[in-house]
């Protein structure tokens, strides 16, 4: 138990905050604590969670990526055009095309970072501007509404009628999100590559001397994020039923905030899938709660910003300091 507190301090702090907010909301509104609302939360946070687990891998490997959300927009647009060319396609070909394009865009970042030793934040800010500038230049900001039928059709995987007649539904994005979360979890905790990513993020030079292939680490981390960005982009197009070139512009910072809130360290070597999912959920639960409490939508962001700021302050104060009896013997205060 004590060990659990030490290794998962951020996740426990986040979970406590979520439970606290959840309890308050359950009493403040009658709609919050219901199956329908929980499913709605999952449906709406799917895209952000897919992005978040991808970004987590890059953060663990010691990098940062600003360009992934814009890359997802590029993938959406290219995938929509490509799928139209090959005559429609379906979910399988769609995911392969989007994932493949995403990996290519991620590999560009990895190539710049590895080959020319450009620091990841510099390289990805450059590619952010290049991707977005070129996307807006070539598309002239025109959206695509004419998407294939399979992409715009809602796929309900599980539904149940609640007592008041409303339907609780789980849709396809949630399944895709669950698969992405599970594979990312398996990648970083159950494979040698995952261990190597943590080691590389914690101490790149040490990892290199230890015989870890540094180039492979860059390509795996940014390729994985590219894959997730591509998949996330396709799912977002499915969810919104349109492709708008600047729809995801600015999303990168929201996702980054959620992932770092979930305990991933900027600088590498630290972070868990659970924390990252909890970070995204905290933000969406806050937003969902405000919505149900009929707070003006204009005030949403203000409260969310204040919540994150408070959560950082709370979770950065080390848990051992608040609970001295949890400190393991011999450890410095």
């Amino acid at each position: 138990m004590r060990k659990l507190f030490h290794t998962h301090a951020t996740e426990i702090a986040l979970l406590a905050i979520i439970v606290l907010i959840g309890t308050v909301l359950s009493f403040a509104t009658d709609r919050f604590f219901s199956l329908g609302n929980a499913f709605d939360l999952l449906n709406t946070s799917s895209v952000n969670i897919i992005f978040a687990v991808g970004l987590l891998v890059v953060l663990i490997s010691g990098g940062i990526d600003i360009s992934f959300a814009v890359a997802a927009s590029v993938v959406q647009y290219l995938a929509a055009l490509l799928l139209e060319k090959i005559g429609g396609g379906g979910w399988v070909s769609g995911l392969i095309v989007a994932g493949g394009l995403g990996i290519c865009l991620g590999a560009i970042n990895a190539f710049l970072i590895h080959r020319f030793r450009i620091i990841s934040i510099v390289a990805t800010i450059a590619t952010f501007n290049i991707y977005f500038g070129l996307l807006m230049f070539f598309t002239r900001g025109v959206s695509i509404y004419d998407l294939p039928d399979w992409l715009t059709e809602r796929v309900v995987l599980f539904e149940r009628e609640a007592a008041d007649g409303s339907w609780a539904e789980i849709t396809l994005p949630v399944l895709i999100m669950a698969v992405c979360v599970a594979t990312t979890w398996a990648l970083i905790t159950r494979t040698t590559i995952g261990r190597q990513l943590y080691a590389f993020g914690d101490n790149p030079e040490g990892a290199r001397r230890f015989g870890i292939n540094v180039g492979a680490m860059h390509f795996i981390a940014f390729g994985w994020l590219g894959l997730m960005a591509g998949i996330g982009g396709l799912v977002q197009a499915h969810y919104a039923q349109e492709v708008v070139p600047n729809a995801l512009y600015g999303r990168e910072l929201d996702v980054l905030a959620a992932v770092v809130l979930g305990g991933a360290r900027l600088g590498g070597g630290k972070g868990t899938v659970l924390g990252c999912v909890l970070g995204v959920l905290l933000v969406s639960i806050t937003q969902n709660g405000l919505n149900l409490m009929n707070v003006s939508p204009f005030a949403f962001k203000m409260v969310i910003g204040a919540t994150i700021l408070a959560a950082i302050t709370v979770s950065s104060v080390r848990l051992e300091k608040l609970l001295p009896f949890m400190r393991s013997p011999g450890e410095r205060a």
């Binding site: 600003i66 710049l112 020319f116 030793r117 450009i118 620091i119 934040i121 510099v122 390289a123 800010i125 450059a126 590619t127 952010f128 501007n129 290049i130 977005f132 500038g133 070129l134 807006m136 230049f137 600015g250 910072l253 929201d254 980054l256 905030a257 770092v260 809130l261 360290r265 900027l266 003006s296 204009f298 005030a299 949403f300 962001k301 203000m302 409260v303 969310i304 910003g305 204040a306 994150i308 700021l309 950082i312 302050t313 950065s316 104060v317």
Partner: protein
Amino acid sequence: MTLMKRIGNLIGTEIIGPGLAFVAVILFFGLAAPRFLSSATFGSVAFQLPELGLLTLAMLLPILTGGLNLAITFTANIAGLTVAWVLKSHGGVDASPLVFAVGCFLAIAVGGLSGTVMGLVIAYTRAHPILVSLSMMIFLRGLGEFLTRGGDISGFPSFIQPIGHGSVFGMPIPLLIFIACVLVWHVLLTRLKLGFNIYMIGSNIEAARYSGVNTRKALILVYTLSGAMCAVAGIIMMARFNSVRVGHGESYLLITVLACFLGGVNPFGGFGRVVPVFVALVVLQLLSSGLNLMGANQHLATAVWGILLLGVMIMRWLIAWLTLSNTHKG
């Protein structure tokens, strides 16, 4: 020789990247677009430079300490709102210059306050500046949208317009304000104790703390000054657009980071000077004006800015690689 050395010391070796880019841009557009080398181009650059430039100055100090301030654009908006609110509540179009002065003072105080809050959280909780400033950015955007309901605020006294559009002795007033701020930052970083501490913190915050630098105080001051500089940018933006809207200049956020890196500032902090960043800003504006003359739009210019940053970084890598292989041979 000594003069050259002194100039070299004053501006540093970081000038090479943006300096070469400056020459390349002038040569390229000078040959490609005959109308490029005209006073009209330089006029448009001079009027567009200050907004991005002041925000870049606000970004520079946190980057030098190894952090970032992602709240700059919305801090500028909130500061602009403060001036607008003071003017609106004291006569609107008929407000006196004194009211405007009070408004500016309050705006700088508000900008500084948002910076102080960030500085306090960063200095005392050791949370990463990206996260802290990001949540401050989300908060300020929300606050601004809440107060304005997403709309514009306009209808200011006419004496404000010259601050955005006027000229004194042929020099645009916003440019003069910007150059004054550049000088203040240059003096701060090269002559004052705080400047020295900023570089020390950026190089190694623990070592700085053990050497007796009050790192907390320095960090709080850095973010406060950054917020105050955002407020200056907000006032200039208000005068230029003659209105305040939350979201004005939002796209500048990552461009300011790009400008700092282009100006040779180390992304991990500790190294970087004001003058090369200034040159980098001029290069960016010249590029977008030149591309405009050739019929391209701002989006293409944004992409070219990104390519330019990559080009400068790859060139740096090449130089380092060549010098390394030379020393190995010798």
